[in-house]
Amino acid sequence: MNSSKSQPDLKELQRQMLAWLKAHDPVIKESVTGTEKVPADLRLDIYANAYRYRLIEALEDTFPALNTLLGDDDFFNMGLRYIERYPSQHFSLRFFGHRLADFLAAEDGFKEQKVLSEMAQFEWLLRATFDAAAQPRLSLEDLQNIAPEQWPELTFSFHPSLQRINLSFNVPQLWRAIEQEQPPIDIVEQEYPAGWVIWRRDLRTWYRSMDVDEAWAMDTMQEGENFATICAGVCEWIDEQHAPTRVAGFIQNWINEGLICSVK
């Protein structure tokens, strides 16, 4: 400690230590003692390394398929850049990766491979589905009590675990091959993005693709629009007379899959 300087108070000491962890700012060294066997620099390195390794472990845990796509070394270096760009601000490590997909879509060296951002987004939504709130499901019997004339005004609410994503690449297939340790499959970019839905039922996570009209109907219904509006909207893809049957079919499937919680 320079005798001309006053000792840092607790707030300043913490600021200095954090600056060491984040950017190797050496000013904290003035406040740390070492021993002959373990000098202060080594002691501080233990904390600096632990800071990075712990956060990267959290990313590995949330994004295992992205890790496989990138390879361990590139994933680690990507993690270092992400930590620097978006230091953790939440009390739980569970939420540390919430900006990784955006990071990969924007950063040089990653944004050129759009599949990386899509995989990060897909794995983040899988995690969101895993520990989303539980809620009772609607059954088909619940619908039987509704009079036909009420149907045009009906709105439906979805299970809290439901997540929607549109993917240009064969990300779910890549994820599945990696998760099941199957031989690697080619990364394929589709001509048009495909709609996917992810949800949880009986503690298990499910996902499937959807036709474009089903994806639109689900998104619009999530926004609170009623049955009649959805029927009118799907006429962009099918003729008007088949629209109610088509939309009723969606709803029946969604109920069977445990995607819908209530109707009003």
């Binding site: 000491l13 406040s31 740390v32 904390y47 953790s88 989303a132 503690l203």
Partner: protein
């Protein structure tokens, strides 16, 4: 600042384990001979899904206590009320017997380092932490347990030993202590003091619970990794703790390289065996020595230890 009149401790729970996701199904299916489980608080501060499902199943059959890493009690920014609110709700929903966190800071200025960073052992830190513990205890409506952390650095600003710091905070805030015996050992090696000095200085009136855990030994220093079985030196210190603190609440804390449940039950039974022998025969009985005879003696430097205590 005056010391508070000590309140009664919580009823003792016996010998427990940390509840880990790898063992959920085993615990529910086989109902192992474990007196209680400790949960990692943050793992269950979610809205639903498997973690909460299994937690409520386990809560039907075992007493639970909560152990957190995010209270950030030593931070100089205001306490995170949102976090504390979630913790309080979880505690109520599983009827947790008590709640513990660490004597450290984990982040500041809006950034979470997710590490248990040590505080300087100063009067300023004591005043700050005591005030924060009191705020938390008022908010929760119950006594908090504070755990000693492993550390790798010492601050030049420190004015006392770690055990003096810990005792003083417990006395002034009337919180309870969760003594981590492995952490005492790790810090003893890293800072070259005698762990028995630490153990014997702690006021038994404030101690509610003990942790036992493993670590990674790098020769000149030790990292607190919780990924190994409890080592013999820590078992020896544990026997000393049983002798000093008597009937209390012990548990094995494994956080990585999680082995099958049966291995942890073996470790827990060894803890029971040592405790029973020490309680009935005393620490110096040949039976205890027989159990502990292969334990290494920790080499310490008396000069350095006293220097550390005097800083």
């Amino acid at each position: 600042m005056p010391n508070k009149t000590p309140q009664k401790k919580y009823p003792q729970l016996g010998f427990g384990l940390g509840l880990r996701k790898e063992h959920y199904q085993d615990v529910i299916d086989t109902r192992p001979d474990v007196d209680w489980f400790e949960i990692l608080t943050e793992n269950y501060l979610v809205e639903g899904g498997k973690p909460l499902y299994f937690l409520h199943q386990v809560a039907e059959h075992y007493p639970l206590v909560m152990h957190g890493v995010s209270m950030n009690i030593g931070n100089t920014e205001p306490l995170d009320r949102d976090y504390l609110t979630q913790v309080k709700q979880l505690k109520k929903s599983i009827n947790a017997r008590w709640l513990s966190d660490h004597l450290c800071w984990t982040g500041t200025n809006g950034t979470n380092a997710h590490d248990l960073l040590p505080l300087p052992y100063t009067e300023e830190s004591i005043n700050h932490v005591v005030e924060r513990i009191e705020q938390v205890q008022d908010f929760l409506g119950s006594r908090l347990l504070i755990e000693n952390v492993s550390s790798y650095i010492s601050y030049k600003q420190s004015e006392m030993s770690e055990w003096e710091f810990l005792n003083e905070i417990a006395k002034r805030s009337d919180c309870l202590l969760l003594l981590d015996i492995n952490n005492i050992y790790v810090s003893a090696v890293n800072h070259e003091f005698d762990p028995l000095n630490y153990l014997n200085a702690i006021d038994p009136q404030q101690v509610q619970q003990f942790h036992l855990a493993g670590h990674s030994d790098y020769g000149d220093y030790i990292i607190d990794t919780h990924d190994e079985p409890v080592c013999r030196a820590v078992w020896e210190l544990y026997a000393q703790a049983v002798e000093r603190f008597g009937e209390t609440t012990f548990m094995i804390e494994r956080d990585a390289s999680i082995p099958p449940l049966a291995e942890l039950l073996d470790e827990l039974n060894f803890a029971r065996k040592i405790a029973a022998a020490v309680s009935t025969q005393g620490i110096n009985h040949p039976q205890i020595q027989n159990l502990l005879e292969n334990l290494p003696i920790i080499q310490t430097s008396a000069a350095e230890a006293s220097e550390a205590a005097a800083v």
